[in-house]
Symmetry: C2
Subunit: 410 residues, 2 copies
């Protein structure tokens, strides 16, 4: 019986691929700004101009020379002459001389001579052409200077940034309406299994519908890739070889799933070895579920032989295929966000093995409880019923009921 | 000066909208399974048949009558007759009589009479037609029973489920290749501001490009909506009225941004009041940044007047507009996942006010540190440079350096 002696820890397995693989970046495509959220920038964006392009007020009030307000109090206000009402979107016409001020609204352009804005709440109108300042302002107060947000020449976003809503706004502010992004990496998905039929077909007795192609294709999309569905291949050397070759032709990454039986796994391992060098890099990982995963590099592209059990397939996708897609996009792995919860029961694990346990989150008076959804890794419904997963690290032999755990949501 | 006395706490502001609003569900559309990930199911999915459709083996080995193996040990194995090699995807031909077994691979169909599978590792082949079992199996061991994953008639997914990769796989297993999902809620986005020009235009002196329409449109897409860009409207009653009316005609939710000056805010408030009843429900929230948000219900649809400062606009979008989009989709708000980090400096806040502070995450030997990105809420670059946000709850007057905080990633 295969033990956990000759299998790799998860990080070492990933590193084995990453140290051998020199990914070829995907092509660059230009997308409209309105379709760029979530995409990954292919080139750094440098500001060609200042944002904002002029020094503007952040409040409603009066543009002033700050020194004219120094020492002002309610008892002894500074009296200033109003020389202009600055129109929004227009250039102020009057330069401020000492003792002068202009009325300005939020977003308005400061007139020459002004270096601060007094909020209207800290003033008192005296007549049509003069007002009193009740509190001093410092130079630069209540303004955003030209280029204070982004200065001309500054790198706003490095290449390989995943574009978030704020980044999209910043690109708009710079006038960038077509954005160079990496083409989504293509992920070819194939399933093996002589008992497996496509989902649109009614299975005959002894047959079952393909679900892995669709769950893995969806996972590839969620990871920022484009799924290329190559369908089913028979469990024999020639068919698997042809299928993986087709995948290598059309895609950047190939994911083969199925083959939970030893015979089928051996066929896949043989194909991936023959398509090297280097071929198979990892055969088995200290992981549950997902131990029998195959990781290979064929013709410069990563090829994953994921276990056929649907839960194992998705767990290994997350641990190995998703990072490979991110690497093609030049994305740094982000820290993983989780929900804190108390475990509801003891969970056993084996030292040296990383366990991924599906859980449901239940709201309690003391916060969230994480309730393990137990069941075989062949049961997709255990994932459907779960909200997320917890990880038992290799150094632990289990977790205790009541322990605080981090739940990673699906 | 407007205080925090007449403003609502964030949850109360949201509740004010939700208690008045009877959302009309979006239309239903059918999408192919390969385009359904992330979409929201419009109808419950009930299994029409058992998954798996037959009792199958989860290991490579021998299908047996479990009772024939009871008491088997290495010293005293049970001897069984091999009657068939079950082909994958085929129906077994032989019913097992006592003392008989059939060879079966992972995924194979159990023959009549069998109720368990012995792993090949726990057997010893004797000759072509007989083998020894070295360990007993219990009935049901190493098999997935017909319907054990999903039983015919069972509700697999309730309506309003956001479809995750595993759910997509489960739909495939049931033969569902066209999925009824809610049309993405349409979110009309308008910006006001007489100084604002579209991003493709070069701003004249005193003008600035529209960034909020694009950051908010992107946020609407990320929240599961479809952004409808209605462009710029002038800061005057008639223009804002026409703009919001257009939004109400074409969209399910209207988001107006800009109007940080009091005059402009007053115009927006007047328009939303006139488009009621009930019109404006919330005018000001105990929140920083984002205090001057307007929440209204006009002609049965939510209309949000978000502050013009770009950071405030995105913070209020997340707190009010995103939940409204989710409500249209029938989605339950999920628990929020965060990254634990230590705050690097003291942060002051006011009791009674909810503060959202942008932070960068820095990896340290002791885990992550959260480093506040300070800067005016008019500076979009503070968001671009941040990894996420931390929340200072209303009950706190600040956070201390070294405190553990939860960082919500952008």
């Amino acid at each position: 019986m295969e033990g956990f002696f000759n299998v790799r820890p998860v990080p070492a397995a990933r590193e084995e691929l990453f140290s051998h693989w020199r990914p070829e970046p995907p092509a660059i495509e230009e997308v409209p700004l309105t379709a760029a959220v979530g995409r990954v920038l292919a080139k750094p964006v440098r500001a060609q101009e200042d944002v904002p392009p002029y020094t503007r007020s952040t409040v409603d009030g009066y543009a002033v020379r700050a020194e004219d307000t120094f020492g002002a109090t309610e008892a002894l206000p500074a009296l200033l002459d109003l020389v202009e009402d600055i129109r929004m979107g227009a250039v102020p016409q009057k330069r401020l001389a000492p003792g002068q001020a202009s009325r300005i609204a939020t977003g308005g352009m400061l007139p020459p001579g002004a270096d601060a804005v007094v909020m209207v709440e800290h003033t008192e109108e005296l007549d049509a052409t003069s007002f009193a300042v009740l509190r001093p302002v410092a130079p630069g107060e209540n303004v955003i200077r030209a280029g204070e947000d982004v200065a001309a020449g500054e790198e706003l976003l490095p290449a390989n940034s995943r574009l978030r809503p704020a980044d999209i706004g910043a690109l708009a502010a710079l006038g960038i309406t077509e954005v160079p992004v990496w083409r989504r990496p293509r992920v070819a998905v194939l399933s093996t299994g002589d008992e497996v039929v496509p989902p649109e077909q009614t299975p005959a007795p002894g047959q079952i519908r393909d679900s892995n192609s669709y769950s893995l294709g969806a996972a590839a999309q969620e990871a920022g890739g484009e799924a290329v569905y190559l369908g089913l291949v028979r469990d024999e050397y020639r068919a698997v070889l042809d299928g993986v070759r087709r995948g290598l032709e059309v895609a950047d990454v190939v994911v083969l799933s199925g083959g939970s039986s030893v015979g089928v796994r051996d066929v896949a391992a043989q194909v991936l070895t023959d398509l090297g060098p280097p071929g198979v890099l990892v055969h088995g990982v200290a992981l549950r579920p997902g131990k029998p995963v195959l990781i290979a590099l064929c013709q410069g592209k990563p090829v994953f032989g994921l276990p056929g059990h649907p839960v194992s397939a998705l767990v290994t996708f997350d641990l190995f295929v998703r990072p490979a897609i991110h690497r093609l996009l030049g994305l740094k792995e982000r820290p993983r966000a989780g929900v804190r919860a108390r475990l509801t029961r003891n969970l056993a694990s084996a030292a040296g093995r990383e366990d991924h346990v599906r859980v449901r989150l239940v709201e309690t008076a003391e916060g969230f409880a994480a309730e393990p959804v137990l069941g075989k890794s062949g049961l997709l419904s255990t994932l459907v019923r779960a909200d997320g997963t917890i990880v038992i690290p290799p150094a632990r032999e289990g977790l205790r009921a009541g322990e605080e755990v981090e739940v990673y949501l699906f």
